[in-house]
């Protein structure tokens, strides 16, 4: 179980953001991507998840092995916690909804509609969704936004448990996640350079 | 000069006037838009060139 990225370049809106990026993540590891806003973290993760094509380079693991989670949780406000999780479990051909709710401390809220959850509870539900996908590589974009300290700690435990099962996690963030064992990859050195020549053809970004 | 258009003079002339006006409008629009874009691009390119030369 390994994700190997070699010489990857990604672009957003036709503008190259990252180039020459190579790294590897294998089972049991967590890798934190760091970089200022606009450095292409989100674009990189969306490219890995197969939502947009890379400009260049190879990604060894197919998107089918990754569980992607972004700022929006993909939750329906009029469905209950259990219904939301059951849906995503069914889509991925998995069960284990109860275990996921237990792990994210949501069992007591199982029959509450998502619109009546607090922001932190919603975020936990979004992370519980990752557990029911049954995929080994988690690709997480700012996973701890709007979580309080206790919830961040809980999140750390969930990721750690996932790593212990042989899973891996790729996280983009600019705040501390409370995962001291995670490797850190700074995206700064991979910032794409603008080609100096502005030939007519190249102007077609 | 004007030919005898008979009973339908109004209709025939109207058809010609309207069609030619529409074509003129279209040509004018394409032309004006082309000129505006060319000007804007030229202005930008001069600015960028000056910037580049200034930095070197």
């Amino acid at each position: 179980m390994e994700l190997r990225v070699s010489d990857l370049a990604v672009a957003r809106g036709g503008l190259p953001l990252i180039e020459g990026l190579s790294f590897a993540v294998s089972g049991g590891e967590a890798l934190v991507l760091r970089g200022p806003n606009g450095s292409g973290k989100t674009t990189l993760l969306r490219t890995l998840a197969g939502l947009q094509p890379p400009l260049a380079g190879q990604i060894s693991a197919p998107p089918e092995q990754m569980a992607y989670a972004a700022h929006a949780d993909g939750l329906k406000s009029t469905l209950t916690v259990r219904e939301n999780l059951r849906f995503w479990a069914a889509i991925h051909g998995q069960n284990g909804v109860d275990a996921a709710m237990a792990a994210m401390n949501l069992t007591d809220l199982a029959d509450r509609q998502a619109q009546h959850l607090s922001a932190g509870q919603k975020r936990r539900l979004g992370l519980a969704r990752l557990l029911v996908t049954g995929r080994w590589l988690w690709v997480l974009d700012e996973p701890t936004v709007s979580l309080d300290v206790a919830s961040v700690a809980l999140f750390g435990e969930v990721v750690r448990a996932h790593l212990a099962r042989g899973g891996a996690a790729l996280l983009a963030t600019h705040i501390d996640l409370g995962l001291p064992e995670a490797r850190i990859l700074d995206l700064g050195p991979y910032k794409a350079e603008m080609p100096a020549d502005l030939g007519f053809d190249e102007a077609f970004l | 000069m004007m030919p005898d258009l008979g009973t339908y003079a109004a209709e025939v002339s109207l058809a010609y006037v309207v069609s030619l006006a529409l074509i003129a409008l279209l040509i004018g629009w394409v032309w004006a838009r082309g000129r505006r874009m060319k000007r804007a691009l030229d202005a930008l390119e001069t600015r960028l060139n000056r910037k580049q030369n200034g930095q070197v």
């Binding site: - | 209709e11 010609y16 309207v18 529409l22 409008l25 279209l26 394409v30 838009r33 930008l44």
Partner: protein, 244 residues
């Protein structure tokens, strides 16, 4: 055939269109001027339709270009989807307003012609109806282009719309035929049934048709040049912003 794709390169296209466009424009102006003057001043009246027959020199060429413009958009959209040449997508974008204007001219001249012939400005004749529907397709296509910010996304989505729209436009044509058998003459080139059209009609008509084709070519080339410039302008601005 390989050499044809050279023109998909923007630089090459700008060079070639730079001299081709004025040539087409001059040809268009000459042919349409001669054709229309010949048709308007020198053509005899039809024994049945009187002088209204002179509308044919505008009606038929514009109708021809209304359909051919869409056909050209379909082909260039396919080229964009398959080979991803930007010039192709931009040419489709440039052709749409021209095609829409041609459709409008065909509709208006048709209505004006219909007034004395059928006694009404508008009849839900299948051919007129089909053109009205075609006009709606043009409007939708143009609206989709202008609604989407990212140029590549817009090119992709409008190309799909053009493909799907073409199928439904043809279906609509048959639906309109089924729905009303219509007042239009079978073929537009046989002006009065039973009489062969003679050269005093054919001459200006053919001249106008070729002239409209030239006009279309000149306008599409001019429009595509503008779109290429707009695209480059956008690209340069984005890059400047990114470099700070």
């Amino acid at each position: 055939m390989a050499s044809l794709w050279e023109y998909a390169n923007p630089v090459k296209f700008m060079q070639t269109s730079g001299w081709l466009m004025p040539v087409a424009a001059v040809l268009a102006a000459g042919m349409i001027a001669v054709g229309l003057v010949w048709g308007f001043f020198l053509t005899p009246d039809d024994f049945r339709q009187g002088s209204t027959v002179k509308i044919i020199f505008l009606h038929v060429p514009s109708a021809l270009m209304a359909i051919n413009a869409w056909a050209m958009m379909l082909v260039t959209s396919l080229i964009w989807l398959v080979r991803r040449h930007h010039v192709s997508a931009l040419a489709a974008k440039a052709a749409a307003p021209i095609g829409a204007t041609m459709t409008l001219i065909a509709l208006i001249t048709g209505a004006i012609w219909g007034q004395p012939m059928w006694g009404t400005w508008w009849a839900w004749d299948p051919r007129l109806t089909s053109f009205l529907i075609l006009f709606l397709f043009y409007i939708g296509y143009i609206a989709l282009w202008s609604a989407i910010e990212d140029p590549d996304t817009a090119a992709d989505l409008t190309a799909v719309l053009c493909l799907v729209g073409s199928v439904f436009a043809v279906l609509s044509r048959y639906a309109a035929l089924f729905w009303n058998q219509g007042l239009h003459q079978g073929a537009s080139l046989s002006v009065a049934p039973g009489t062969r059209m003679d050269w005093s009609y054919k001459g200006p008509l053919y001249l106008c048709m070729v002239g409209f084709v030239m006009l279309f070519i000149a306008l599409v080339l001019a429009g595509t040049r503008t779109e290429i410039r707009a695209r480059r302008l956008r690209a340069l601005l984005t890059r400047e912003r990114a470099m700070g």
